[in-house]
């Protein structure tokens, strides 16, 4: 089980990233984290995985506990070793490396050759499409295939908790469905999942529990089914009802911003 309590994050000593976020992921469950752009979703994942340093950010308050180990003073490498894997926002595969090499980078913390082999076989079983692309340069793969490489890479360390940051971003509906199936299967094989998404329908239909982040705070949380049925959430995140067009436009500007920043 992962428990984050009252996490506060500050970037460059002045910019506030999180204003006290608490989150719980019970072993074996899928937790969805929703929120519009700038809500702090990625910041929360960085706080959990020790990646704030690179962004000149730090956790100023709060704690993170994973299966009895305190993560908030550990570096990224130790957190991976503790059993947490992640798929970063924007996939972030190594474009100049081959698919195989990308997968090997994910096994960096694994000592046993046999274990690496086992994880590798498991990844190729989950993503049969990658079998023929093993020696291809990863940067030339399609967006969907790159997302598979990113997920496969994260699974190479056999994490007990997998964090995914907007895996559906920029992918066609059919591919999103495939990715959804993969996440469900990975979870069924015993990995807990935190799924950060803009695609609320997809995330909530997969998840057991959901959190909604706004302005660096959790504004709502509850069983995913309840959130799916909630009127406000339908309006703001699912694009249903009168507010539908507005949130649709939000999504559009968000997409545009994404393209500029990538």
């Amino acid at each position: 089980m992962l428990t984050a309590q009252g996490l506060e994050v500050v970037y460059r000593d002045v910019l506030i990233g999180l204003r006290g976020v608490s989150l719980q992921v019970r072993t074996g469950t899928i937790v969805a984290v929703l929120g519009s752009n700038g809500a702090g979703k990625t910041t929360m994942l960085r706080a959990l995985t020790g990646l704030l340093d690179v962004h000149k950010g730090k956790v100023t308050k709060g704690s993170v506990d994973f299966e009895g180990t305190r993560l908030d003073r550990m570096d990224a490498s130790a957190i991976v070793r503790a059993g947490i894997g992640q798929v970063m926002e924007g996939r972030r595969i190594f474009p100049a490396l081959t698919v195989d090499e990308n997968l090997r980078t994910g096994a960096y913390t694994v000592r046993s050759k046999a274990k690496i082999r086992e994880n590798y076989d498991r990844v190729l079983e989950l993503f049969p499409k990658l079998v023929d692309r093993r020696t291809s340069t990863a940067g030339y793969l399609s967006g969907g295939e790159q997302q598979m490489v990113a997920i496969g890479r994260a699974l190479m360390s056999s994490p007990r908790l997998l964090l995914l940051d907007e895996p559906s971003l920029g992918l066609a509906p059919l591919i999103v469905e495939q990715i959804t199936g993969i996440i469900r299967e990975v979870n069924a094989q015993g990995t807990s999942v935190v799924l950060v998404e803009q695609n609320a329908t997809m995330a909530l239909s997969l998840a057991d529990h959901g959190y909604i982040l706004e302005n660096g705070r959790v504004v709502k949380d509850g069983p995913a089914a309840d959130l799916l049925a909630d009127k406000d959430i339908q309006e703001f995140y699912l694009g249903v009802g009168d507010a539908g067009r507005k949130s649709f436009r939000d999504v559009k500007t968000y997409r545009r911003r994404k393209r500029w920043s990538s």
Partner: protein, 298 residues
């Protein structure tokens, strides 16, 4: 024809030496984005350490070369560990200035210990030569080329097959994504400086061996290797090797033929030629032959 082959052999041999020096630059640049101006200093101290092991301590030459490479790798590690590590996040310009400071330290250290006068490295090759047809090759050139090829092969195997080699490549591409896989940037930086030190020592040996002598001048080879790096693409190890060869051959052929073709350019023009070639290549390919067009910063 014989003259041409003769010049080519010298050119390739010289080129391999430049390649070794250039590799050190490139590996540190790729890992840390710092242009290490102390590389020439490492070349120099590496050669002097080998001299110390073999001539002063009387150890066998081969063992002395290995020890010299290890010791210079150690100096690189120390530089990284106690100085540049503290500079991470500082402006790259400041880090580059620090490496210039390190060069001065090495220069003073060498002249303080061994003095400014030329010494004999103490290599077993001396001025002996072998002859293929009519082409005469110095034994030290053959060894220099053989050892460089061997080191390049080790490099290739290291980067391709070891976890640390893979971590170095991944970190150079996307540091944050590499961290997210559990890779340690600190280890990558240290490895880069260690490798740069080891290759520098080997380069120092091949420069100061044979008929040449060991003096603080050895460090200036690093400046001549500079066009090789820029030409090959500053972030490409393969480019460093090809760039080194291009510069070495250019220099050798220019020295050989300039008197016949364009005597008005004057003797010594061969030292200018590498820079001419560099500028010509950059006009066509601004990032060098093998460089990455856009070098991204995290």
């Amino acid at each position: 024809m014989t003259e041409f082959l003769q010049l080519m052999v010298s050119g390739v041999s010289l080129g391999f030496t430049y390649a070794l020096v250039a590799l050190g630059f490139v590996i540190i640049y790729k890992a840390t984005e710092v242009i290490n101006f102390s590389q020439g200093g490492l070349v120099m101290i590496g050669a002097y350490l080998v001299y110390n092991f073999t001539s002063t301590w009387g150890l066998p030459f081969a063992l002395s070369v290995v020890l010299g490479m290890l010791a210079t790798a150690g100096i690189g590690l120390i530089f990284e560990r106690i100085i540049l590590r503290r500079m991470v996040g500082a402006p790259v310009f400041a880090q580059v200035m620090i490496t210039i400071g390190l060069l001065f330290i090495l220069q003073n250290l060498v002249t303080a210990i061994w003095g400014p006068d030329p010494l004999n490295l103490g290599d077993p090759w001396g001025v002996s030569t072998v002859t293929f047809g009519e082409v005469v090759i110095q034994v030290r050139q053959l060894w220099g080329m053989g050892l460089t090829l061997f080191v390049l092969l080790l490099f290739f195997l290291f980067f391709r097959f070891t976890p640390l080699g893979l971590a170095m490549r991944a970190t150079a591409i996307d540091q944050e994504a590499a961290l997210a896989q559990g890779m340690s940037s600190k280890r990558v930086y240290m490895a880069a400086w260690g490798i740069a030190g080891a290759t520098a020592a080997l380069a120092g040996v091949s420069i100061a061996s044979g008929a040449a002598s060991l003096s603080p001048e050895v460090q200036f080879y690093a400046l001549l290797a500079f066009p090789a790096i820029i030409l090959g693409g500053i972030d490409s190890p393969l480019g460093a090797v090809i760039g080194g060869l291009v510069i070495g051959i250019t220099q050798s052929l220019t020295a050989g033929y300039i008197g016949d073709i364009a005597p008005w350019l004057g003797a010594g023009f061969e030292s200018v030629m590498p820079f001419v070639v560099m500028v010509l290549v950059l006009l066509v390919r601004p990032y060098g032959l093998f460089g990455t067009p856009e070098i991204k910063r995290v």
